[in-house]
């Protein structure tokens, strides 16, 4: 981050949009700074894609103002599109074209010079690990490779703003790591990145997050501050049968929330020093002998559930 205060690259004010009378986005205000990785986090149907499409200038809001890179997107969408790259949730490249041909096509659409295109595609393909597959049809790539190709095509013209709609959904861990390595590099060079995700671990990598629920932004801050804002403290309890455990604990006094996390449950309590002994006693009395209670660091999922009051899909 530079020493001077970073500029606001994307701003939305009172943006609403409904589909067939159903309100999908309700008065969204955002200010996204230059060079940050801004995450839109929320379950399916929260309105992530709708917001991304409106930022990309391919969907008009019913009301409100959107400015991207100083351009009024609602009025001058075509001007804004010159410096924005948008990667839709569904694979948007041509499956019957090869990796190289897709790159050529998007390079030409943005009038990238031949020299720049070759240099840049070489560098990007290497970073994405796609170099050996240049002559392969995009339709024959794996899910992870497709998404990386999408990113490479989106970056071929060196955009100032990158909009990624659930870019790593269905992507294997290795590809995801490549993906994020490229994103971190971009941030270094001052590119503003907005991405939506339903993956909470991915959300942690963002510089700032907007927690989206039912078309509204409920909270917006850095992951750390969001965690600090979470009321109560978190305990992790491991057990053979976490479902039974959850049922047992859910309605106890002082328990603010219980979240099933694989083989454990996350229990949010008002006062750990008082509740840990209570829960230990309870579990012993109920014959749950294998349970181990430890204080835990909250993840974004815990924070989301605590702050938004809704269950995320994961």
């Amino acid at each position: 981050m530079s020493a001077t205060a970073p500029e606001i690259t994307i701003r939305t004010q009172g943006v609403s949009r409904s589909f067939g009378g159903v309100l999908a986005i309700n008065k969204v205000d955002m200010a996204i700074l230059q060079g940050e990785i801004f995450g839109l986090v929320g379950p399916d149907g929260a309105g992530k894609t709708t917001i991304m499409r409106m930022l990309a200038g391919i969907l008009a809001p019913d009301s409100g103002v959107i400015s991207v890179d100083g351009v009024d997107v609602v009025r001058d969408a075509e001007v804004a599109k010159r410096h924005v790259s948008y990667m839709p949730q569904r694979f948007g490249l041509y499956e019957d074209l090869t990796v190289k041909e897709n790159l050529f096509f998007y390079g030409e659409l943005f009038s990238v010079s031949r020299k720049d295109r070759l240099a840049r595609s070489k560098e990007l393909l290497a970073a994405a690990g796609l170099q050996p597959f240049q002559s392969r049809l995009a339709g024959q790539l794996s899910g992870g490779m497709k998404q990386k190709l999408g990113l490479v095509c989106a970056l071929i013209h060196t955009p100032r703003i990158l909009l990624l709609d659930e870019p790593t959904t269905g992507v294997d861990p290795v590809s995801r790591r490549d993906f994020w390595a490229i994103l971190y590099n971009l941030r270094e060079s001052g590119v503003t990145i907005v991405l939506s995700t339903a993956y909470m671990d991915e959300a942690e990598r963002c510089s700032r997050l907007a927690l989206l629920h039912a078309g509204e932004i409920r909270h917006c801050d850095t992951p750390e501050r969001l965690k600090q804002a979470m009321p109560g403290a978190l305990l992790a309890i491991t057990s053979q049968d976490p479902r039974a455990l959850r049922a047992l604990i859910a309605d106890r006094p002082g328990v603010l929330g219980v979240l099933l996390m694989g083989d454990r449950v996350h229990v949010r309590v008002d006062d750990p020093s008082r509740r840990i002994p209570e829960l230990t006693t309870l579990l012993a009395a109920q014959g749950v002998a294998d349970a181990v209670i430890t204080p835990a660091e909250p993840g974004i999922e815990d924070v989301f559930v605590a702050l938004v009051g809704a269950q995320t899909p994961l």
Partner: protein, 378 residues
């Protein structure tokens, strides 16, 4: 407008067409197939009309008359009957559409009175065929009469030229053999190009919507006009190849005389293909599913083109309101143009009116299509 983007789109589209050999084959073979079907199937000439003959007299003279009728080429004898009721049976079974009855006293009456009747009975369920058959019969009888006159004259030592008579000397221009195929085939070419052309482009935008590539495409700075031009260029080439196929088949296979200039043919054909492709494109822009777009393209091209383009039903014969309607049926201009180029050898100067019609059409459709393409999801 950015030429690089247009070429990038055209190149991309070409690759996609090339990698889909099945649809390419359909695009190129379909017109030839339709050409064969329509070219052979549609003919307004009636040759070898099946007739039954009931010759009650059956002597050398009456057999000669029947022989003359058959030798005109328009009729062929399907049955020779010996009883009157046989006619009804033969017609019921569809063995014949006409019956020729020569009465028993034919020769005697002809010799004594100088005239004798030949009865023709016609199955008038198909009025058109019946009328044509009557025409042919009258022609054949006329020839026979002339022959009889000549014989009589010769027998009485009079030169045929001395018999006072008025001869109609027909001279048919442009389609000297009066072969309706020469008239129909150019129309068939126009109809096929109109159908196939609209089908070609009706899928192109709809496919991008269905496959999800449109969402990314419209997020780039590409303009509506660039998308249209880029997509039309490769299909224009395919359309021209189709046109070459059909026109070559018309000239060499169906032997329609070609008297015009290749240049005039090229210019007008290119203009027509442009209109036809853009109609398909416009449909594709408005209807975002491939199936729907293809059906609409078929619907709005097939009926108007076959009924109102004048390719089988003469526009001059239509009631005034329908005739007015044909002005928006763009294939009518090309039907007129093709017939004139093929049969009359007309040049662009002669064909300015239908060419202008096509040009106006092209401008309007391009304008509509460019406007209809919105770089928005809603």
């Amino acid at each position: 407008m950015n030429i690089r983007r247009i070429f990038a789109l055209a190149y991309k589209e070409t690759l996609q067409i090339w990698r889909d050999p099945r649809s390419l084959a359909i695009a190129l073979l379909m017109p030839l197939m339709q050409m064969t079907l329509l070219g052979y199937g549609v003919s307004l000439d009636i040759k070898h009309v099946p007739v039954c003959v009931y010759d009650q007299e059956n002597n050398q003279q009456t057999r000669g008359i029947i022989g003359d009728i058959v030798s005109s080429g328009w009729f062929s004898i399907s049955r020779t009957l010996t009883r009157q009721v046989g006619i009804r049976h033969a017609m019921d079974r569809g063995d014949c559409i006409a019956a020729i009855v020569i009465p028993a006293n034919f020769s005697r009456r002809l010799a004594s009175t100088g005239s004798a009747p030949v009865q023709a009975i016609l199955d008038a369920t198909d009025v058109n065929t019946t009328n044509i058959a009557i025409g042919y019969l009258q022609g054949a009888i006329g020839e026979i009469n002339a022959g009889i006159d000549a014989q009589w004259a010769a027998a009485h030592g009079i030169q045929p030229s001395q018999i006072g008579q008025v001869d109609l000397v027909q001279s048919t221009w442009f389609n000297e053999t009066l072969d309706s195929r020469n008239f129909i085939i150019p129309g068939v070419v126009a109809v096929i190009l109109a159908l196939v052309g609209a089908q070609l482009t009706s899928l192109t935008i709809a496919r991008e919507w269905e496959r999800g590539t449109m969402e990314q495409l419209i997020s780039t700075p590409v303009t509506a006009l660039e998308v249209m031009l880029g997509k039309l260029i490769p299909y224009f080439v395919v359309g021209l190849v189709d046109a070459v196929f059909c026109l070559a088949a018309a000239a060499w296979w169906f032997k329609v005389p070609f008297r015009g200039s290749i240049m005039t043919l090229f210019v007008t054909t290119a203009l027509f293909i442009l209109v036809v492709l853009d109609i398909g494109y416009l449909i594709s822009v408005r209807i975002r599913s491939q199936l729907g777009a293809s059906q609409v393209a078929l619907l709005i091209t097939l009926l108007p083109t076959t009924l109102l383009s004048g390719y089988t039903f003469p526009i001059d014969q239509m009631p005034a309101p329908i005739r007015a309607l044909t002005f928006i049926v763009y294939p009518r201009y090309y039907v007129t143009i093709l017939r004139a180029i093929f049969l009359k050898g007309s040049g662009l100067a002669d064909l300015w009116a239908p060419s202008l019609g096509l040009l106006i059409y092209a401008v309007i459709v391009i304008w509509l299509a460019a406007r209809a393409f919105q770089k928005r999801l809603d």
